[in-house]
């Protein structure tokens, strides 16, 4: 697919979502549609969709043990084995998964190949993707945890602690959060990487840009709401709490920018189970990561093996013993 087409179509899709919610609430006054009905439906799609995808994956048999390894496997006792890069027991698998999920270790190994003059192939480490990725995911996590102040009453103390650390520099009123800057910066860099590197641009599809723009739209609308168009947060929290106590009551008069934010979030979570964003669940179900490399010490039984009907030599001899004796063929049992 044409790179420009991918980018522009995704941009138009996100702009249309923004326009729908902005005018839907601002001009037509569909507060309860965008504030209650759509968020509930989106949450239901998200939960059912994620569970469905996980169960669907779990139904697929893994015929071989296929861990990808990059360390010394366990062999002779005097050769030092690397349990994290080539796990030989469950603790190794858990350790490796932990590092993968929390530190994105396999992205850290990302490398780039170049054809130099000669022609010579040159390989070098390429850590940008890891850096932008980890900044993005952790700032996203912190922002979501900070948002619990709208979703929980009384507010748990860890949320207050995170918020005060995040607003440490106390720049401007209301305070600018460090995680907001990192979040917008990291998404922008991930986007620039995608359009800047020719190889990556070439393989980018509308779905790749759509997720990026959607998340960027959520971040921008959030920061606009905090630092530019102020919204009535008392109203926002009473809406959120009313949704979570199942007595939905959207208060009147919340600025449409809030509904844009909420609608983009609703679209994101409803889209999540059916998109590449599902890698969040997929990483746990990757046979290349979650299996120990013990092919030689433990037998792995292919789950789709059916019981093979065998006919042993003993049975064969039982069948033909008399005839064999007649022809003078030696038999094991007389």
């Amino acid at each position: 697919m044409n790179a420009l087409f991918s980018l522009v179509s995704a941009l138009i899709a996100v702009a249309a979502l923004v326009a729908v919610s902005w005018f839907g609430v601002g001009a037509i006054g569909l507060d309860s549609v965008f504030g209650v009905i759509i968020p509930y439906i989106a949450l239901a799609i998200f939960i059912i969709g994620v569970v469905y995808r996980i169960v669907d994956w779990a139904r697929v048999p893994v015929p071989f043990r296929i861990p990808t390894t990059c360390g010394q496997g366990k062999s002779l006792p005097w050769i030092k084995a690397d349990n994290l890069d080539c796990p030989y027991n469950t603790w190794g698998v858990i350790g490796r998964m932990f590092l993968e999920v929390f530190l994105f270790r396999s992205l850290f190994r990302n490398s780039k190949a170049e054809l130099r003059e000669g022609p010579k192939a040159a390989y070098a480490s390429a850590k940008w993707l890891w850096l932008f990725g980890i900044l993005f995911h952790y700032s996203f996590l912190i922002i979501v945890l900070r948002h619990l102040r709208f979703f929980m009453e009384p507010i748990p103390s860890f949320v207050e602690a995170i918020t005060s650390v995040d607003g440490f520099f106390q720049i401007m009123v209301p305070t600018v959060f460090i995680s907001d800057l990192l979040f917008l910066g990291a998404v922008t860099l991930l986007f620039l990487r995608r359009v800047g590197l020719p190889q990556v641009r070439y393989i980018s599809l509308p779905a790749d840009y759509f997720a990026l723009f959607l998340i960027l739209g959520i971040g921008i609308s959030g920061v606009l709401m905090r630092n530019f168009f102020k919204v009535d947060l008392l109203g926002v929290k009473s809406l959120a709490i009313s949704l979570f106590t199942l007595h939905p009551a959207p208060p009147p008069g919340i600025h449409p920018i809030f509904y844009v934010h909420l609608f983009l979030v609703s679209v994101l979570i409803a889209y999540f189970p059916f998109s590449k964003l599902m890698h969040a669940g997929g990483v746990f179900l990757s046979p290349t990561r979650n299996l120990a490399n013990v092919n030689r010490s433990e037998r792995y039984v292919n789950p789709w093996n059916y019981p093979v009907k065998v006919h042993t030599y003993e049975e064969y001899e039982n069948d033909y013993r008399e005839k064999m004796k007649e022809c003078g063929i030696p038999v094991d049992k007389e």
Binding site: F46, I47, V50, V51, I54, V55, A58, R59, V60, P61, V62, L148, R149, F150, F151, M152, E153, P154, I155, V159, E160, T163, S164, Q170, M172, V173, P174, K230, V231, D232, L233, L234, G235, K237, S238, I241, S242, F244, T245, L246, H247, A249, G253, H255, G281, F284, P303
Partner: protein, 133 residues
Amino acid sequence: MYNAGKIIIGIVIFLALITAPFWYNFGKASTPPKLEIGTQEKQCVESKAFMQSSHMVLLDQWRDEVLRVGKRIYVNSAGKQYNMSLQNTCTKCHSSKTKFCDRCHTYLNVAPNCWDCHIAPKEQEKQAGRSDK
């Protein structure tokens, strides 16, 4: 389904995390805190909607005008004049910080540091941030 035990544990953890706010708020009344305006006046510095969402912007603007420009009189959209001061104007009307500013701020986890230096109005009974029940 293969590895059913592990898959089910994973799904249960996922469901517990996602639905945590529902359980956390379960059975609680969803009322926002009751605010005591603390004055007989009918009108705030600006309209109520503006004050609800943007009072911190106004205060920030006041502070800059006073400290950087030296201008101390604010004229609101209706033409009424106010002395641009946190502790001499806002708290003249909103005579209880704990039952007004703090209740709302505690509900939303906002902790302005203004009162480290500025003097809050004296109150008869010291009350915790959210004790309107």
